[in-house]
Each structure stands twice: as C-alpha cells, then as structure tokens.
C-alpha cells in the first residue's frame, strides 16, 4: 500500500519537475482492518477506497486536484489503529481520515482525530461513536439500534408482541442484543426468552429448544454475524420451529443464503441496504444510479460481489469528496469539517445522508429496507 502511494508521489513530483509547476493534491488517510479477524469488513473497504480514488483521479480529481491516498492496514488492532492515525496526521499530513472498520479501532482513531482537529468518518456500527456528538467525528453505517427499530416496526405490523432472542456473544451480537432490549418496550414488544451462543459454536439447538418451550413466543430474533446466524437458521429448520425468524443486518450478504441453505432460510427476514437488491431496484429509485454504478465497477475490477461493508467505505468517500468540493480550501481540515456537517441529501449506497450539528450519522430508518429470503434470493417486502 505504501509503495503505491510513494510511487504516486514520485510520479507527481516528476510531473511537477517537468512542467515546472507543482500540482496540488489532496491527502486522504485511511486505516482499515484489511487483514485479521475483521478482514471481512476491512478487505472490501480497502478495495473500494483504492478503486474510487483511482476512478476519481482518472476523471481529473476534485476541482483539478488529485487525491493522494495513504492506506494502512491496522489488522483490527486498536493499538495499531492509534499508531497509524497519529502517523497519518503527523507524517502524512492528511486533511481527512476514513477508517475504523470495527468499533474498537474507531475509538482509537477517534481520539487522535478529535485532538488534532482532523475530520474522521468511521465505518463502524456502534451508536457511541456519534452519541454524544463529537466535533470532528462522523460515521456512515446505521447503528444497531436502528436495525432493532426497523425489525420491531416490522413485527408490530404483524401483531407480534412476544419474542425470543438468541444473540452471539461477539461484540456485534452483544451490542445489538443490548440495544434491542433497550428499545423493545417502545414498540410494545416483550422479550420473553433471551439466549446467547459463542461465536464459534457448532450447534444452537439447546438454546432454541428453550425458546420453543417458552410460552407464547411468536418470533425469534438473532443478532450476530459470522457463522452463528447461519447455524441458528439451520437449527431452527432442523427443530421444525415454525415462527418467523429475523436476522440482523450483520449477515446481509448473498453468502449468508448459501451458508444457511436456501431451504432453511426461506421466509427469513432482515433489515438490509439497497446494495443487496441492486439488481432488483426500480430505475426510478433514488439509489438506483449510485448502487448500480458501484456494484458494476467493483465487480469489473475485483470479480467479487459487493458487500454492505464496502458500501460504507463508498459512502464515506463520497461524503469527503462532496465536502472538499464545497469547502473551497482543500488544505484546511476545519473548512472540510464544516462543509461535511452541512451535507444534505447526499445519496449513498447505504441511504441518503443529511448531517447537522446534532446528528453526525445523518441516516433515518428509511435507509434500511426490510428484506425477505424467497426461493434463495432477496425480496424487498415494502
């Protein structure tokens, strides 16, 4: 990654020497978890950012200025993330930072960004990143609390009032479990069974049997990611437990249907983004253009399907580019931050962003679409 940047700098320097005038460039810093346990988040994020920077520079950059990308791989380690954030600010002198694939690494980068006054867009989920609002910190993924609210809204519409929850004990599952328990009351939903499983567990039938034996359970909700939700889905089918099953946005990918098996996953619902149903969006959908161009470009370049996580990086980059082009001064982090906070109506892959001094997430529940698995494919139920 570094050598690529150095080459880019060398090329620019050479160009400058030839033409006799140094070309201005915008220094953008990134620290994501491209390897390690959070690689499934960081890998598509890094690829997305590299692709978008390349695209933008080919098209002439922002107001004629090219973007110089410095990308570090923190491997999911908060200590490394802090070191890289400091290096980005002090050595690479970047004007903005994108990154923090996990809530842990985000918290490390966040303190550096706040101290140094550099705008930072996080790619992690936790609500604590933007609540309370911090001056220089923004984020693109919706919070797990919003996922709970979206699911409960859907349950409410079906007159479901008593549910069982089975959550992963990993960071994602535990956080969403807490948020769901917190907001359930507002939707008139009672959690009558609350079970957990370890992220590497191979069988969840005991927990599901307990939920089944609890009186009056009308639906099951499974916050978690990785293999857990796929195994829960298979176990529910194995037990012949016939209540609606809800999964979280953590497993919103085509790979999930494959892992859980189309038959076991039939009828399952989860909140997902427009990216997941890119090929089924109506042409007049507000997100049609941005989603289609991103999925096509990514597929062409990497021969892989896009993921929701790469979409978060896509949106963070679009927000930064939009803010810099409005800021007037691409050298001034404070001006970029101010422009970022004034963002309104920016259509991304995750939703339509509108920041304000009180809201550094800028998404509402409409960003989520309730999806159902039907015949091994996603179907929007709205």
């Amino acid at each position: 990654m570094m050598s690529k940047t150095t080459t880019a700098l060398a090329t620019l320097a050479a160009l400058g020497a030839l033409t006799g005038a140094a070309q201005a460039e915008i220094r953008l810093g990134v620290s994501v978890s491209a390897t390690g346990p959070a690689a499934f988040l960081g890998d598509p994020e890094a690829k997305t950012l590299e692709m978008l920077v390349e695209q933008l520079n080919e098209e002439g950059g922002i107001n004629g200025e090219e973007i110089a990308l410095t990308l570090y791989d923190d491997g999911g380690d908060p200590n490394k993330a802090r070191t890289f954030a400091t290096r980005l600010v002090e050595d690479d002198e970047v004007v903005a930072i994108i990154g923090g694939s996990t809530t842990g690494t985000t918290m490390s980068i966040l303190s550096v960004a706040e101290d140094e006054g550099i705008p930072f867009i996080s790619l992690a989920g936790a609500i604590s990143i933007i609540d309370p609002v911090r001056e220089f910190v923004f984020k693109t993924p919706h919070t797990d609390r919003m996922a709970c609210e979206k699911i409960f809204t859907d349950m409410q519409a079906q007159d479901i009032t008593r549910i069982g929850m089975i959550s992963g004990t990993d960071g994602f599952g535990a956080s969403m479990q807490a948020q769901c328990k917190d907001v359930a009351g507002e939707y008139g939903i009672e959690i009558v069974a609350d079970e957990t499983y370890g992220p590497q567990d191979a069988d969840m039938t005991p927990q599901l049997t307990r939920i089944r034996n609890t009186d009056g359970v009308q639906a099951v909700l499974n916050p978690g990611f990785g293999q857990g939700p796929a195994i829960v889905t298979r176990n529910v089918a194995q037990l012949g437990f016939e209540v609606p099953l809800y999964q979280s946005h953590g497993v919103a990918s085509d790979a999930f249907i494959e892992l859980a098996g189309a038959e076991a996953a039939e009828g399952l619902r989860l909140p997902g983004t427009a990216l997941l149903i890119a090929d089924k969006l109506a042409e007049d959908d507000a997100q049609y253009e941005v989603v289609t161009s991103y999925t096509e470009a990514y597929k062409a370049k990497y021969d892989q399907d896009v993921s929701t996580f790469g979409g978060y990086a896509h949106d963070a980059f679009a927000l930064i580019v939009d803010a810099i082009s409005r800021a007037g001064d691409s050298e001034d982090p404070q001006a970029i931050r101010d422009a970022l906070e004034e963002t309104s109506g920016l259509v991304g892959t995750t939703g339509t962003y509108a920041f304000s001094p009180e809201d550094h997430l800028g998404l509402d529940l409409s960003a989520f679409r309730m999806l159902e698995i039907k015949d091994g494919d996603w179907l929007s139920v709205e």
Binding site: A39, D43, Q200, D203, T205, Q227, A237, Q238
Partner: protein, 290 residues
C-alpha cells in the same frame, strides 16, 4: 423429556466434533510428548481444501481424499521443515514451534484461498431424523461414526501393530528406541502425516455442520485440547470420552441452566476433574525412575 433428548443430541454432535479434534492430538503426543497446537489448522485445511476442490468441479468424495492427502503432506512438511531441525530442543520449544506453524498456516490459507466462510453439502442431505420428539441431522451421525472409526483405528494401531508400538517406544525413550532398531526419524514423519490426515478427515466431516473459514482452527484446537486433557492426553479412549463429555456438559448447561454459562461450567468441570485426577480420566500415571 424430548428437551433432554434434544440437548443430548446436540451434546453428542458437538462432542463428536471435539473428540475428532482431540483424537488428532494423540499420535504426535504419543510419539514425541509434543502437544501440536497446529492440529486445529489441519482440521481447517481439510475443510477449506475440500471446499475449493469441490467448487472446482470435482466430486465430493474425491475432493475429500485430495484434501486429506494434501493436509497429510503439509503435516509431513511441518515435521521436516520445523520440528526436525529443532531436534534435541526441549518439548516446550517444540510446542511453541507448533503455535508458530499454526499462525503461518492460517496466514497462508487466507492468502491462497480467501477470508470468507464456506460449506459444502451434507453427505446424506439435511432432512432431520426424528427420535421421540427430538431431531438430529444425518451429518451428526456421520461425525459420531467418524469419531468412533478413528478411535477404533487408533486403538488397534497402538495396541496391535508393531508400528504403533514403535511410536510409543519413541516417545518413551528415543535413544533406547534407536538402539532396538526403530527408525525414530521415520516414526516422527509418520506421526505428523497421520495426525494431519486425521485432522483433515475431521474437517471434512464437520464442515457441513460448523462451516469453515481460515480462522476456525484456533477455537477447534482449544476445545479439542480441553477434551484431550479431560480424557487423558495420548489415550484415544480418553480423547473420545473427553470430547463427548465436554459436548454434553455444554449442551446440558445451555439447556437447563443458561447459555451464558455453558463454557464456564464445562471448564469448571474440567478443572475439577484434573484437580482430583491430574492425568485425566484415562491417562496413565507416569512414573519417573531415577
């Protein structure tokens, strides 16, 4: 009643997975007193290589055989490249070498294959078998049968064959074993090859249930290690019983007490057993003659 049966089915499924991993530890341990912490990676390799050869269009049984052979070769390479050059080093150093090897294998796997989770179809479909109101998947029966088969194979190997006895002799006293004409270098190569093959075989059987990704090995190795310690390290019977017991403890705790405490309870039971019987349930008492 049907709940109890369901918990036991779950415990047997998970326990058979642990037992298969634990059985893989026994051969290398019996040949060299080394606990091979790369054993979990052998399981992972068995699953991953099968997934990718199967996706490449080969029939599943052939893909599985290829995975077992390739993993076995990797086991032999691990012995030749890392363990043999360190000959004479204390056992603790060799154990640390296996931890290093597991990190290398994990890193190489995510580069050569990918970082996603995978699975291939169950051998006999996914229709659950109903027994008295409880259900078990056909694949679970495959895993249980696989664990039993490996156990019987190892038991015959160590008690009925000359090669098996040569392996035990090598662990007991390497110099004495050489003096009676045992090629100890060959015994080490054989034990790594066999252990890796058993690990890969486990990976092939459990992948339809547990799914496989480059990083599943660590957790499997830890649980398998715990099972082997509970039953008595180096004893195939201990590995089998230890694995099944550990699985059943976890399932019963999750079913009757709380899923929050299932691992805690399992490990407290292990600690309790080791406190009373430091060699594990079936471990032989080692006597040191001066």
């Amino acid at each position: 009643m049907d709940a109890l049966l369901q918990f036991l089915f779950s415990g047997l499924t998970v326990g058979a997975v642990y037992a298969l991993v634990a059985l893989g530890f026994t051969i290398i341990y019996n040949a060299s007193d080394v606990v091979n912490f790369a054993q979990g990676e052998f399981v992972m390799l068995g699953g991953m290589i099968t997934v990718f050869t199967y996706q490449a269009g080969l029939p599943l049984p052939l893909a599985a055989v290829i995975a077992i052979l390739v993993t076995s070769a990797i086991g032999v390479a691990l012995n030749k490249l890392a363990i043999e050059p360190a000959r004479g080093a204390p056992v603790v150093s060799l154990i640390i070498i296996t931890i290093g090897a597991s990190i290398v294998i994990r890193g190489a796997t995510q580069l050569i294959f990918d970082k996603q989770l995978h699975r291939f179809p169950s051998f006999s479909g996914d229709d659950p078998i109903h027994v008295l109101g409880a259900t078990i998947l056909p694949q679970s029966l495959w895993v249980i049968a696989g664990a039993l088969a490996v156990f019987v194979g190892l038991w015959i190997f160590f008690t009925r064959t000359l090669t098996g006895k040569a392996v035990l002799a090598t662990a007991n006293n390497r110099v004495a074993a050489q003096l009676v004409g045992i090629n100890t270098g060959w015994v080490m190569t054989l034990s790594f090859g066999l252990s890796a093959a058993i690990g890969a075989f486990a990976g092939v059987l459990v992948t339809p249930i547990t799914l496989v990704g480059y990083d599943v090995g660590v957790a499997l190795a830890l649980k398998g290690f715990a099972a082997a310690m509970l039953g008595g390290m180096g004893n195939p019977k201990g590995a089998l019983v230890g694995g099944l017991l550990l699985g059943c403890f976890e399932a019963l705790t999750a079913g009757y007490l709380s899923s929050q405490y299932k691992e805690a309870v399992a490990f407290i039971v292990i600690l309790g057993v080791l406190f009373v019987m430091p060699q594990g349930l079936f471990g032989s008492k080692s006597t040191e003659r001066v």
